[in-house]
Symmetry: C2
Subunit: 352 residues, 2 copies
């Protein structure tokens, strides 16, 4: 973002969604709002090196779009750490950082690689132009800011597409944290004078729905109710829900949605209740189908605990598959910045 | 239970299921294991009056079959409180206690009435025979113990029916706390040399699956894994589950199952994965269909908290419908002490 020419796209969004609270490079460090504990405590993790950013991503300090922004900002730190060394050292460092940042979590690794590879290209181009030292850091920072603002421009368009799908008074069921789009959708609804009622599945074990989605909606003045993860079918059948909405970690070109565990069983219940399921995101050119998808399994202790409090007897195991796969027949539409696509015609997204 | 003649039916069951830990009259008080915090802390609530027992039921100190036993033991306290007063006072007290105990929670009120009405009959009969004072208390206590042991006899038979449905090495998904039947089923499997692998949905907001079902299974040596409530569909599709099992709060004569919120969406996912859903319990002669069913809505704060820890921002609402309804087309069989019935032929249960 060339700050003088580009308009910041985070105006009127919730605290959680403002640039300074995602992953923000300033004064030589990257600060990341700790989404694991927000809004119970408002704390930022301060990263002084790209390795600390990679570790923060791995530890899920941030999630949803957060890791992508953090990876871009992490590349700034990577260059800053060696900015006065040789070109070869800088290039080797940028390769190492790109790998570490994009592989911090397995399921989304391919999309993360796109972000860091663009940063590497910026670094190579700048070096080729004789740009070194602080100027090089600033070139990568400009890339990261521009990447962030472009993402928000895209979210703004997707939020507008979502708004167009909603009636004047809309009841929406959400899963996990559909990220910035919750904010841009609510902003678009406000601009159009539409009233929104949200039911947010809490999304164990991290409670992203209760803590993040509900907080964003509440911050932005929506009517918001949290339910536990065993209630979506009941709410779908009893609360005149217009839309089930989730974001996606990966959408394959053949229309499968990989998203936070639980999405599929809500989509199944939505189908049973004749409620459409809309997913935001873009088809991933790297994944034609689900054959290369790795479902990440995270620390089982997170399931046998809640907010750090042990809830099971010693000897009881936990199991934590982080994502599931919803087949295209349960997806009413894929909401992209280019429009709402059928899951069966996602190749159209790549048409010019 | 005439203790000299009746064999106690709680041998080899988990701590949680032993008589002294359900609702137990001794030394003039009723002690109830606090299932809201077990196994994190092992504490009993001590009730000195029937009103305290009713309040304990309302506060969900115990649940599943616990409230029924507690109601029976509460009737002992009711008589004890006025044992040396007039017959009219004792009868009035027993009417009041019967009402308070059976109406402590709305959804299961009809079944609770059966228990307390039998106790009232015992009291009336004893009074008619000239039984007063401590002898009267002992008559009601004998009724309560007999009621408890008969319940366990029935659970033993249901556990045996469940065991017969399972392969030699069985993987079972559970919802909430299917009560004593988890224990009697595991005991029956052990007697038959069958190996059982359990996946327990944690069951927010009270975590009955994580805390109660998993503890019972672990206590009894089963291989047990807890999952959060957004994972059942994934486990059903990926873990070779043989059976989805739940208990029931009410089974209507036309085959609808009223049980802990979430049961229906798991049943839906089980159907999608071709996993049979078996429900334990007995059809309720009082409920021909769902028209008289009241779905209890409990304190919404329980959903915006987890283990007493607030998880949402101020201004975010909660919603807590405690039960849902699973229609008969999703029920593979109703496992009763008389055998496994189709949900469409439950009237057979009442045939002699």
């Amino acid at each position: 973002m060339k700050q003088r020419t580009e308009e910041r796209m985070d105006q009127d969004l919730a605290f959680l969604l403002r640039y300074e609270n995602i992953a923000w490079y300033e004064d030589g460090v990257v600060k990341i709002l700790d989404r694991r504990i927000y809004p119970i405590r408002v704390e930022h993790v301060i990263c002084k090196t790209y390795a600390e950013v990679a570790e923060a991503i791995r530890q899920m300090v941030t999630q949803s779009e957060g890791p992508y922004i953090a990876a871009a900002m992490g590349m700034v730190l990577a260059v800053q750490e060696v900015k006065d060394r040789t070109k070869e050292t800088i290039l080797a460092q940028s390769d190492e950082a790109a790998y570490a940042l994009s592989h911090a979590r397995p399921t989304t690794s391919r999309q993360m690689q796109a972000v860091v590879n663009d940063a590497r290209q910026v670094i190579r181009d700048a070096l080729a132009e004789g740009c070194f030292g602080q100027a090089l850091v600033e070139a990568v920072h400009a890339y990261a800011l521009h990447y962030l603002n472009e993402k928000y421009q895209r979210y703004t368009r997707i939020g507008q597409r979502m708004e167009e799908l909603l009636p004047q008074r809309a009841t929406i069921l959400t899963q996990c944290f559909p990220g910035t789009i919750v904010g841009t959708m609510l902003r678009a609804c406000r601009q159009k004078g539409k009233e929104v009622i949200l039911y947010c599945a809490e999304t164990r074990p991290y409670f992203q729905g209760a803590r993040l989605t509900a907080s964003v909606a509440c911050d932005m003045g929506a009517d918001v109710t949290v339910i536990s993860d065993n209630m979506p079918a009941y709410v779908l059948m009893n609360k005149d829900v217009d839309v089930f909405l989730s974001a996606s970690d990966v959408i394959t070109r053949d229309g499968h949605v990989i998203n936070k565990i639980g999405t599929f069983q809500i989509a199944l219940a939505a189908r049973y209740s004749n409620v459409p399921y809309y997913v935001t995101g873009t088809p991933d050119p790297q994944h034609r189908d689900t054959s290369q998808i790795v479902i990440e399994e995270r620390d089982p202790r997170l399931v046998t605990e809640s907010m750090g409090q042990k809830i099971t007897m010693e000897g009881v195991k936990g199991y934590y598959p982080a994502f599931d796969i919803t087949p295209p027949e349960f997806v009413s539409g894929v909401v992209t910045e280019k429009g709402v696509l059928s899951p069966y015609e996602l190749d159209r997204y790549f048409d010019e």
